[in-house]
């Protein structure tokens, strides 16, 4: 076993632990914090099914962002949808045999990678070109964009320019899942790609990437509009009544 393989194995175990514990910790924190008042942004659905539909429209189509800003919406949606396709394509490194839908998605995953980088470029450009967005942009916002763009670019490099031994990469990750170390090819683009992905996993629970779980816990989006019909009261507020 080479030093490199050992290092990356450790890195991915570490990143996975940080991602899972951090994310689970956050989700538990959100779930345990009460929402003492009914504050859905109205008009809001009157039933739980309606709320599920509203949430689905937010998650899949970014409905509110669409109403807010068309440029941010198109770039943001292209990026996220691209990332979604790429993620599906990458499942082939972790499952064997590869499920049929994942096999069929493979070519689209490449387009997804391109779309992802283009979307990110658009979002990044807005951070320089629109004065309001420039004002609210901080160093961490640039860094996360850089991280994602480099992940996308290094991945595309391996698809189009300098190929790596994908069979060996799969062996490496399948091995990690069984707590076995298989050699990782020492290709520079692969190493950069994986390093940055591990970095992304580590910063996820400590950064604005928390918007992903956050959306599901947003009271203005996930509450049913029925305050007159059903009394809604938080445990800490109930104690005031005694």
């Amino acid at each position: 076993m080479s030093f490199l393989t050992g290092l990356y194995a450790f890195l991915f175990y570490f990143a996975t632990v940080v991602l899972l514990t951090g994310l689970i910790g956050k989700v538990v924190q959100y779930a345990r914090t009460p929402a003492p008042l009914k504050i859905p942004t109205t008009p809001a659905p009157l039933t739980k099914g309606g709320v599920a539909l509203r949430m689905a429209r937010e998650v899949v189509f970014f409905e509110s962002l669409f109403r807010g800003n068309k440029w941010t919406w198109i770039f943001g949606w292209v990026f996220h949808f691209g990332l979604f396709l790429v993620t599906l394509r990458h499942l082939r490194y972790f499952i064997d045999p590869v499920w049929l839908p994942i096999q069929m998605i493979q070519p689209f995953g490449i387009y997804g990678g391109i779309a992802m980088v283009l979307g990110l470029a658009g979002l990044w450009a807005r951070r320089f070109l629109v004065d309001r967005v420039r004002y609210i942009t901080g160093p961490s916002d640039h860094l996360i964009l850089a991280l994602l763009v480099l992940i996308g670019a290094s991945g595309l490099m391996m698809s189009f320019v300098v190929h790596t031994d994908v069979v060996a990469v799969k062996e490496f990750f399948r091995g990690l899942m069984a707590f076995k170390l298989n050699p990782l090819p020492a290709d520079p683009f692969l190493l950069i790609h994986l390093l940055l992905v591990a970095g992304l996993m580590i910063v996820f629970p400590y950064s604005k990437l928390l918007h992903a779980p956050g959306l599901f816990f947003s009271p203005t989006r996930n509450q049913v509009d029925n305050p007159r019909e059903q009394r809604h009261i938080a445990p800490w507020a109930e104690r005031l009544e005694q």
């Binding site: 008042l37 009914k38 962002l65 967005v133 004002y135 809604h232």
Partner: protein
């Protein structure tokens, strides 16, 4: 035109997003509260030396009590969707009035003390120590938010700046840095029963005066009862309705509708206020205490139903929070929603065909309707989503012949705040109020030019007071703002009761003459 010692924005034909101009409103700050107004609310009277530690304690407590606060401080990705949505930014150009700019004032403190990234890499993630300068910025800019929730409509995660500014005000109150306007008013509610400090005898006097006015005007005895035990309906309405124009014309309208409905109703001198400024200062305890007055009044007066008058944030507290704060309402008549909005009540009667209108009485006006933010984005009327938009419009259209909506992008859930909501309706914030009204006044100005609109109807006491005050700054007339039930009152055909005399012809002529005066 009203005189201003600041630059009144020029109205445009299309909404223009201004270039970011930092610190244009850094000087804007309402009067700080004093001990006498802080104490009745359970807040310290002034800033102590250890304010920072106490503020952070309170901050931590709120993070554990309000999921909205925790999730919203974590989730913002700085996408910019909200940046051009706040009327205060559009009117003042100050980037700290962009919703995300305002949130970041709190987020930077949150990150510094409550997140790993901010503790170790403050510069990287924009975390900052909670210094006196930051606190002063909080005081200034969290009192430049009317909690209208327009930003939350456009945020991909539904981040609601109102939740943030409420929490900020609660933290500031807890360390003795409260706002005089809100806290003085709440203290008055506790002491006297309403925001304006009108004592019971004065209310009785006013209501008797209204009965006489309406009788003189119509020849019909319409009652405006107070503290009538056993009445069917308890009316809870903002105290502005008891005396100020155009509010009181709305109250006259409610009474006429109740008269025609043939139901008994009453106002309570104990809970003679619909407003609940506890919401503005983000204080659950104070909001609850104010709401509990309504419960006590309903029990004491043995009513069966509760109806709220025209008031925006009051309707939010009533519709969305009253069940939580002062429920359950199982002792009231379960056939009716608790509480009901007066527009729902009137609309129901219109649909049943129980009201007769002479729409021509409003022919001297061409109407438009201002969706009040708390009604539009934080409540509902009727049994369908969006009823809060349709029902008031249906009422107006039932009593007026001439009605046009303003630009679609400035109404319904995209409505612009009047600029005076959220506890900012005070003279020490006049510059902010005038500038913040710009987007709404612009849309009004355009529909006046295009459709010949003469009047704007509203269902919120704050909106009505605010427009009455700021329209003159834009060269418009303060009387252009009217109550929805003022229009109802003008058009409703009253049924004389047994003790009413037949109106004489002479009276009729007098009435017509008065109407003519109104047109001028």
């Amino acid at each position: 035109m009203a005189k201003a010692n600041f630059e009144v924005p020029e109205l445009q034909q299309y909404l223009e997003v201004p270039a970011v101009t930092p610190s244009t409103m850094a000087h804007s700050s309402p009067f700080v509260s004093r001990l006498e107004f802080q104490e009745p609310l359970g807040f310290p009277g002034e800033l102590a030396d250890d304010w920072q530690a106490r503020a952070l304690d309170k901050f931590g407590e709120l993070l554990g009590k309000y999921r909205s606060l925790r999730v919203y401080l974590d989730s913002c990705v700085k996408c910019g969707s909200c940046t051009d949505k706040c009327h205060y930014f559009l009117g003042t150009k100050d980037p700290k009035n962009m919703p995300v700019g305002r949130q970041d004032l709190m987020r930077k403190v949150y990150r510094r003390y409550f997140t790993l990234a901010g503790r170790f890499f403050p510069k990287l993630v924009g975390a900052e120590d909670f210094t006196k300068e930051v606190l002063d910025d909080w005081y200034s800019y969290f009192h430049q938010c009317s909690q209208c929730r327009r930003c939350s409509v456009f945020c991909p995660y539904g981040i609601d700046t109102a939740e943030i500014s409420m929490a900020a005000r609660e933290i500031m109150d807890s360390i003795g840095m409260g706002q005089k306007y809100c806290n003085e008013i709440i203290a008055k509610v506790y002491k006297i029963g309403n925001n304006l400090g009108l004592p019971g005898p004065a209310l009785l006097d006013t209501l008797e005066g209204l009965e006489e006015d309406v009788y003189d005007d119509t020849g019909v005895r319409v009652r405006y009862p107070i503290d009538k035990v056993g009445a069917e309906i308890l009316l809870v309405t903002p105290s502005a309705d008891f005396f100020a124009e155009p509010h009181v014309d709305g109250l006259i309208g409610y009474g006429k509708v109740f008269h025609e409905a043939g139901v008994s109703w009453t106002i309570s001198s104990y809970a003679s206020e619909g407003a609940n400024f506890g919401m503005f200062i983000g204080s659950y305890e104070n909001m609850r205490r104010i709401a509990q007055r309504i419960r006590k009044a309903a029990i004491d007066l043995k009513v069966k139903r509760i109806v709220f008058g025209e008031c925006g944030h009051a309707w939010r507290v009533a519709y969305s929070f009253l069940n939580t704060l002062a429920g359950p309402w199982d002792f009231l008549d379960s056939r009716y929603p608790v509480p009901q909005h007066i527009c729902e009540f009137t609309h129901g009667l219109i649909q049943e065909g129980k009201l007769t209108f002479d729409k021509s009485q409003n022919d001297d006006k061409v109407l438009t309707f201002h969706d009040s933010c708390n009604v539009a984005r934080a409540s509902r009327m009727g049994d369908r989503p969006g009823g809060q938009f349709d029902i008031p419009r249906a009422v107006i259209k039932a009593v007026c012949n001439n009605y046009y909506d303003m630009d679609e992008e400035t109404i319904r859930d995209r409505t612009f705040c009047c600029g005076g909501g959220g506890g900012l309706l005070t003279d020490d914030l006049m510059e902010l109020r005038v500038k913040g009204a710009k987007p709404r006044v612009e849309a009004l100005n355009n529909v006046m030019a295009e459709k010949g609109v003469t009047h704007m109807a509203a269902i919120c006491a704050i909106c009505k007071s605010q427009f009455t005050k700021v329209l003159p700054f834009y060269g418009m007339d303060m009387e252009q703002i009217v109550s929805v039930h003022q229009l109802v009152s003008n058009a409703i055909v009253l049924t004389p009761g047994e003790d009413d005399e037949e109106p004489e012809d002479e009276d009729d002529e007098n009435r017509d003459a008065e109407d003519d005066d109104d047109e001028d």
